[in-house]
């Protein structure tokens, strides 16, 4: 006879199985997978199709037993239950998350690391309590420098842990999230509590949060000083990977798609961390003839904007399509990015081959 707990576990396993079936697997253990291109066509990426990036096996943290310690350079150390966080004040934000290694397989020489193509990307609605709110309750000491957030994944020096500078930790959009797309976080996405750092590459959005430590000195953990750094391999000190670089993606027509001649609607998304995208341009075939696309919604910082472009009079044969985005700071997607040893931040313009006929 099944006990209730066993049955619940079986249900959770079945749910995880089901979710994995909709993803494009990249690594099975720990599980890493991309969002399929067709799911990116939706304004919000369904949770079951949302890319998963985990550095370690997913920890299982029952929400009722889990506690989050808030400690370090604070006047009032706290121990928080997820249910306490759920009392708010809650904030809901639409956030585009992109893995820092997205597009790594287009870099040459090919760096080591998960072989991400284009789909380590998704946009979801996250709901949670601003980290600033929790830090306010704990009362920061005057000499604080950064905030360390630890996940429950990994062990010893490889435990997953990242810091944020105070300005980002105290930003009202930086959330301790409990919900994703209107439902409690799934295990793959960091249940019961995940940090959401809008505008920064995904590594900053620590999953399975178990400890928050306010620091007065810089943190030098593995995932901060040995990974998620731009190491140009030229002997210069690496820069940390932080905000998401301006980028765009053509969703339709898909890779190698066959479309009828005549009018073809090209659609995609564009995003830039912490900034609004202000322009997307499309080039049909090679060379430097760029034409403006139409933004389909008011651009917001830290979430993608959907765009469309009408390709008039597509002629039979193979053609190439490219898109490039520009953000409100005037930064435009480059044609190539400086190679870096760990393969991060590849926001170069992509080429899509399309067959007309």
């Amino acid at each position: 006879m099944e006990t209730g707990a066993e049955s619940e576990e079986a249900t959770e396993e079945a749910r995880a199985e089901q979710e994995r079936a909709r993803l494009v697997p990249v690594k099975l253990e720990p599980f890493n997978a991309e969002t399929p291109l067709e799911a990116l066509a939706q304004a919000r990426t369904p949770t079951a199709s949302f890319f998963v990036r985990s550095n370690h096996p997913e920890p299982e943290l029952p929400a009722d037993a889990h506690r989050i310690a808030v400690e370090g350079a604070v006047e009032v150390p706290l121990t928080l239950k997820p249910a306490e966080l759920a009392r708010g004040p809650l904030r809901e934000l639409t956030v585009t998350l992109e893995c820092a290694g997205n597009g790594r397989t287009s870099m040459a020489p090919l760096p080591e690391g998960e072989p991400w193509d284009k789909g380590a990307l998704g946009t979801a609605v996250f709901k949670g309590v601003p980290l600033a709110e929790v830090l306010g309750r704990a009362r920061l000491r005057p000499d604080v420098l950064e905030v360390l957030v630890e996940g429950a994944d990994g062990e010893g020096s490889k435990r997953f842990a990242r810091t944020l500078p105070m300005s980002k930790a105290l930003h009202p959009d930086t959330l301790l999230a409990l919900e994703m797309n209107g439902a409690p976080l799934s295990r793959a996405h960091g249940a019961p509590v995940r940090l959401i750092v809008p505008g920064w590459y995904g590594m900053a959005s620590v999953k399975w949060v178990r400890r928050i430590t306010v620091l007065t000195r810089p943190f030098r953990g593995h995932y901060q000083s040995e990974r998620y750094i731009y190491d140009l391999g030229d002997g210069r000190a690496p820069e940390p990977v932080t905000r998401i670089r301006v980028k765009s993606l053509i969703i339709a027509p898909g890779e190698g798609a066959r479309v009828a001649p005549g009018r073809v609607v090209v659609q995609g998304v564009a995003w830039s961390g912490e900034r609004r995208v202000v322009q997307v341009e499309v080039a049909v075939d090679g060379g430097e003839t760029w034409k403006p696309a139409t933004l389909l919604e008011p651009p917001r910082p830290s979430a993608w904007v959907r765009w469309a472009f009408t390709w008039e009079d597509a002629q039979p044969g193979r053609h190439t399509l490219r898109a490039r985005a520009t953000d409100e700071a005037g930064e435009t997607q480059p044609e190539t990015v400086p190679w870096n040893r760990l393969g991060y931040g590849n926001n170069a313009v992509q080429v899509r081959l399309v067959d007309v006929g």
Copy 2:
């Protein structure tokens, strides 16, 4: 009632149609198409699957009426019928042809020009008379510099015409070919007579040859000085595109293929113009771990060599495969090539994504 000529024409049209159906079209008019990847798995590329690159509409040249003029700095100008050439002495060679623009769509920024991916490549057996033999009959004057070969395609300044330096024109492997893979040349491949320049990119192998002029001064035609040049876009004088750079291609597993875990045999081809390939290495996943592949036949200059590599113990998930060739001159395929304005000579190492599971 159909006349014999009309019926013959209809048959020729039907044959052309049939051939085009096996190719991957890139442009319909003039017709340009790639060899499908699966056809490249054969030691010799069947003519019906052999890539077609034409700068102009294909001229129709009935073999019995066609004449080739041999003139310029010669003692004995000639007018040759294809049937006279067929009397020999004939020479048969296996030659790898690659379009200079093959791989252009992997260059950034994307240059103008036909959007070739990986299949502007093929290997066939060509049979014909050495050009040196014909030049010998015409008797060269002492001050000759290069040999101009004109096709019957294109008009005025855009007629297709290319020169060879004397050393290459007189090389015994440079042929006026009449046959391809044991049959008379098809119209798409230059019937009735095509120049074959082993080891040089395809533009040198002028199709539909109608005139051969021995020159005492350098030729500056459109397809020699405005196209088929490495223009690095940095103000320096462009270099002409000549010999095929060392390169390799993974044939199997194909792009995005799904293979069973365990032992996976990786297969491909490697070639280098005018030189033997002496080594092919394969890297599984990113980083710099290269392992030697096995060459499956004795390497020859100007024809590809097939190779195989056994990937032991492939684990479930996505993986990347890369191959790189080295030739007898010690030249190894680079990870990136210097960008050039017209997008030629891209022999960079390619990344193949494979799903194991």
